[in-house]
Assembly symmetry: C2
Homo-oligomer: 188 residues x 2
């Protein structure tokens, strides 16, 4: 299973995914072409890294949190980020692979969508200013902030990703707190 993935990745590294056939991957991994599709529903699935989950305990902690949303959100995100693969070269190589491959790109975005859906649920449960009908927007903005941090982390390289995620989330703090409503309310 992991062996197959390793073979697939090492084959794709130089040539790109499109130039690698399932047959090649299978023989490289020492299995039959048919068996490949027993493990992966389609070719591209063999190229995605394992994706992390939001730990149950951290989720509950966030829902029950009563402090500033941005702070609680950051501790939540840190707990995920620390569990993430930190091999920047591998990850940005993977992104390059996905660049010209719609199937793989779709997987990537599927992941983001699931993150956003989970965040929406968390915001709903937490309620208050980020709950109710505001939850989807809060989740969308948060996901965008995280993704932006992640991408510039891969682009620039150098420092740890956590700092940038922190900055972006802090930036969103007035929104989580509903500052705009206050402003609008005050203007009336």
């Amino acid at each position: 299973m992991e062996a197959i993935q390793r073979c697939a990745l090492s084959l794709a590294r130089d040539r790109g995914i499109a130039q690698v056939t399932t047959e090649e991957v299978a023989t490289a991994a020492g299995i039959s072409p048919r068996t490949f599709f027993n493990y992966f529903p389609f070719k591209e699935a063999a190229f995605v890294p394992p994706q992390v989950e939001l730990p149950e305990e951290a989720r509950i902690r966030f829902c029950k949190g009563k402090g500033r949303v941005a702070e609680d959100l950051l501790t939540l995100l840190y707990s995920v980020a620390s569990a993430m693969p930190q091999d920047r070269d591998m990850l940005s190589g993977l992104r390059d692979l996905a660049e010209g491959n719609p199937r793989l790109m779709a997987l990537h975005f599927d992941f983001l969508r699931s993150v956003e859906a989970q965040l929406t649920e968390l915001f709903r449960q937490r309620g208050g200013n980020v709950g109710g009908e505001r939850a989807p927007l809060m989740a969308a903005l948060t996901t965008a902030a995280v993704r932006s941090a992640y991408e510039s982390w891969m682009d620039v390289g150098g420092t740890s990703p956590f700092t940038l995620i922190g900055a972006n989330i802090v930036e969103l703090a007035p929104i989580y707190d509903g500052a705009a409503q206050d402003v609008r309310a005050a203007a009336e």
Copy 2:
């Protein structure tokens, strides 16, 4: 061309995209299977609606704008939204089609990515608080806000999308204006 798309969509409406073959679409449109691939590089491309562009004139106006970012951004977005197809049933039907189809989903997100890239460029050119290295984050947040408005517009139905886009962008106003920096600066 458009005739082929109509055939494709009407075939897919009941059965879903996966259950429609390119051969069927071709014969329904009165062309040969081979010709289908002269027009569309892959099956799913026959199911995407025409996508709107940011009008040149509106783009320039935004870049040169000197007022509040949120306001100028809204006039820019309005100019796009009014050019968009407003057939909610068709659009949400299309979304349902995309739901189980990674290829189609990837097209959808590709579109969002291109919008985000254009916005990044616009923010960069406008400079100031939304320019420089803040541009990617600003673009990501804006795209997320627009997408969120768009999705809940399709989910809920009823009112025009413009109001919700407006509300979401207004919400981001403090960020465009760099409120968080002020807060942080004041805290030091």
